[in-house]
Symmetry: C2
Subunit: 488 residues, 2 copies
């Protein structure tokens, strides 16, 4: 397969995606008009500009349509994630006075990558529609815009298999649920919608008003982490709300393919067959027990139950990469903070809305290490790495090992870059980890009680890039940035 040197079909598809994005923006526009919160004009402008830009990309390239190849797929996905936040930032830029372009782009990237680190303060004074747009971006991005697009584009005659391959975050990409990829995408998307409705109803019943319930539902189900309150979920101090959020964050951290199969077959068996699920719950449970015992010794919270409540909430929220907070956990001893941040790098399952290395890769890595140990003792024996008795191919193994290595190299180099700009090491490291895992809050000056506002423009751009890098699991963006990609 050769690079055609012809990117018109990519531009054409990007134009369609941008136009679709403009359509999605009609939702906060409608809400703004319905509630009368004064942000209608901002959304008017944003929708018009986005639509116009999409048309400008789509119209002139219409005649050059063809099926998308692997390279087209990489380019389209990378461009989508770089360009979409530009339009996502428009309503914020239009409505919020003194918001810089840098900060607006960061906020939109943080929204669409479902990271949830914010540069805004005084969230409770923002219009409902603006806060809704912030978490609606989480919701759109959490499941993957492309999955959404794949479910719709076939109607428009554009092949989606290449996109799906590039974007859907799973080390086991070869498995598809149904023979037709569009069916798969639709199935995942409907599962996602069902979960969304269930979460919104639960939060509303637990006492949040309708808009707060919807805003936070988008945040939770997309594992985003934006809130409409500066104090995040801690603002409400509502135990039922905390518990509902834990349950739905846990569900969103699982592979949506498993949810879909369970729903389609009306059976719990797919959950039993999910290879990641036992490790996911076991690691979380163990962490909650260990940290509760540890924090009890430090008297971080008044009693056992409140310790358990805050530990359980933050272990689940940070490690699934949701990132909502009910307490300033930077007040905990450093060990507990680091542990929770560290969990965030591998807990979320493949095919979930979460970020990081993913549980499946962590399992493969663990088994590979074990295999190396056995092989050093029995050099002749052949012990393939197996997941649920199925051997993992060498190609997948290489990809997983290569990814984990790049993941750590990325953390080290971006941390170095940020410390070179004068950031202290905890803030730099935790900021990079929180953005690369799409978690949101970090430690130090980026803890849940503070936010990303204090950074310089350069640092903000670095972290915007980091979030996109994390959302695209490093390689997709890296590939496009390589000279090899552009050769011939």
């Amino acid at each position: 397969m050769r690079w055609r040197g012809d990117s018109h079909p990519v531009l054409n598809a990007l134009g369609l995606i941008v136009m679709l994005f403009a359509v999605l923006m009609l939702f906060p526009l409608a809400v703004s008009w319905f509630v009368g919160d004064g942000a209608t004009v901002a959304f008017d402008h944003a929708v018009l500009i986005t639509l116009a830009a999409g048309l400008l990309m789509w119209l002139p390239t219409r005649g050059r349509k063809r099926d998308l190849h692997t390279r087209d797929g990489f380019l389209l996905v990378a461009l989508t994630w770089i360009v979409m936040p530009v339009f996502g930032a428009l309503p914020l830029l239009d409505f919020i006075p003194d918001l810089s372009v840098t900060d607006a782009y960061f906020e939109a990237v943080s929204g669409l990558t479902a990271t949830g680190g914010t540069v805004l303060v005084g969230l409770e004074h923002l219009p409902v529609s603006i806060n809704l747009w912030r978490t609606f971006m989480h919701w759109i991005g959490g499941m993957g815009v492309i999955v959404l697009v794949v479910a719709i584009l076939p109607l428009l005659g554009i092949g989606g298999r290449q996109l799906m391959k590039v974007e859907v975050p799973t080390p086991m990409k070869e498995q598809s649920l149904t023979p037709r990829i569009a069916e798969t995408a639709k199935g995942l998307w409907m599962t996602y919608c069902l979960l969304t409705v269930a979460c919104a109803l639960s939060l509303w019943i637990a006492g949040l008003d309708v808009w707060e319930a919807i805003i936070h539902t988008f945040s939770v189900v997309g594992l985003g982490g934006f809130s409409s309150k500066d104090a995040s979920l801690g603002h409400f101090g509502n135990v039922s709300v905390d518990m509902i959020v834990i349950v739905f964050a846990l569900l969103s951290g699982l592979n949506f393919a498993t949810h879909y199969l369970a729903l389609a077959r009306r059976s719990l068996r797919p959950y039993l067959a999910d290879p990641e699920l036992p490790f996911y719950f076991a690691t979380l449970a163990l962490s909650i027990v260990v940290l509760t015992v540890y924090l009890m010794q430090f008297g971080a919270h008044p009693d056992f139950l409140s310790t358990l409540r805050y530990v359980a909430f933050h272990v689940v929220s940070i490690s699934t990469s949701l990132g909502l907070a009910t307490y300033d956990y930077t007040l905990w001893p450093m060990f507990a903070q680091i542990w929770v941040l560290f969990l965030g790098s591998f807990i979320a399952c493949s095919g979930s809305a979460g970020g990081g290395i993913k549980m499946m890769r962590a399992m493969i890595l663990y088994k590979q290490v074990f295999r190396e140990i056995v092989r050093s003792l029995h050099p002749q024996a052949v012990h393939p790495v197996r997941i649920r008795r199925q051997p993992v191919s060498d190609d997948i193994l290489h990809a997983v090992l290569g990814f984990s290595f790049m993941y750590m190299v990325t953390i080290v180099s971006l941390t170095l870059l940020l410390t070179a700009t004068g950031l202290d090491i905890i803030t730099a490291f935790s900021g990079v980890v929180a953005c690369l895992n799409n978690t949101g809050p970090g430690l130090g000056a980026l803890g849940p009680a503070s936010n990303y506002q204090g950074l310089t423009d350069f640092q903000t751009w670095v972290l915007s890039f980091t979030m996109i890098l994390g959302r695209l699991e490093i390689f997709t963006l890296l590939v496009v940035l390589t000279p090899v990609f552009w050769r011939r």
Copy 2:
């Protein structure tokens, strides 16, 4: 190959090694007697106890001698590195009042693993022979006790190939220089001795007194880092000494097989053929340039030349894993500190006296990442990773990827463990990295101006373990600690 459940041959070989160690201890004993520094009795005791212990292991197991298998090799190497520091600590424990067993063991591990982090203060008041013993342990350990043993044990009828395979730190273990492994070991060892003599003469000519020259030579050539001065090499403030140390640290950081071939063939061609060498020098040169420019902006040193002097010294000293210091670099901005610490994790070449991931592995990792990028664009094409045009086998690739992963997991988990005991994160992280890379000084409370004395007993034991783990490149120790190893 089966585990015989019979560890007598291992015990027998260990007894021999311990007796050999007692013989090596005669050197500082002789020096102590010659100089009359009052430590003679301490060495008398130590030699006798060590000899007796060796005999007690060797005598009863004499009749059970057989060739050592892979598992025996692992066990012997692991036991050697755990047991030898016990005897190495004896003279220190005997002579220095109030030195705890924990600290004495740490000091001996730090000596034998050529790490060079110390728990002692007032080094200038210690007898010559004690300081000599400290760096002589570096020298013994730097080249690898086992290489030494392999060069001698064949005379005693014990097969060494298995040991060499287990201990010699190179990802390309299959290559041996000469058909006979004992020849190889002897060649490496003689090269090492030559370098030692050249370094000692140079330091003596540059103005150090005979004993200071010898003590620091052992430290430099073994890439250890102990000094006989609390202010390390900065005590002398001698530019020629600094430059000599840089040159010999650079030589010790190269693969000794290359030195050996160059000497044996009386040609510089082996250096040109060394695949690691260009990357080694290029990375170091680039780092020196970047950090000099960076530190000039901060005015860390009065002028360009002094900035260059201190940057060049510490870049070479820390990244080759020597660890001597001429300045308290924790006064530099954090970026420069972290950069230097980070270099230490991969600069030293395979087959050198240095620690860390090793340049060869770093090159393989880099090429593997590049290969993954190419493969994601051309899934059908076959692009093996090549070093100097030779394809790297999948087995080696797996081992390298597995090692790097374990290396990072080790850093993360031990850092977490140390923060859980109350250490601040910079100190914990840099201590683990400095010990795992066998560098010596870390950052924070473990910088070159302070030392490891302030740690609790538990933290000291953890770091002793870390140094051995690093010296044995993680897997050897890990394998022995696995239940699989002991099964059947």
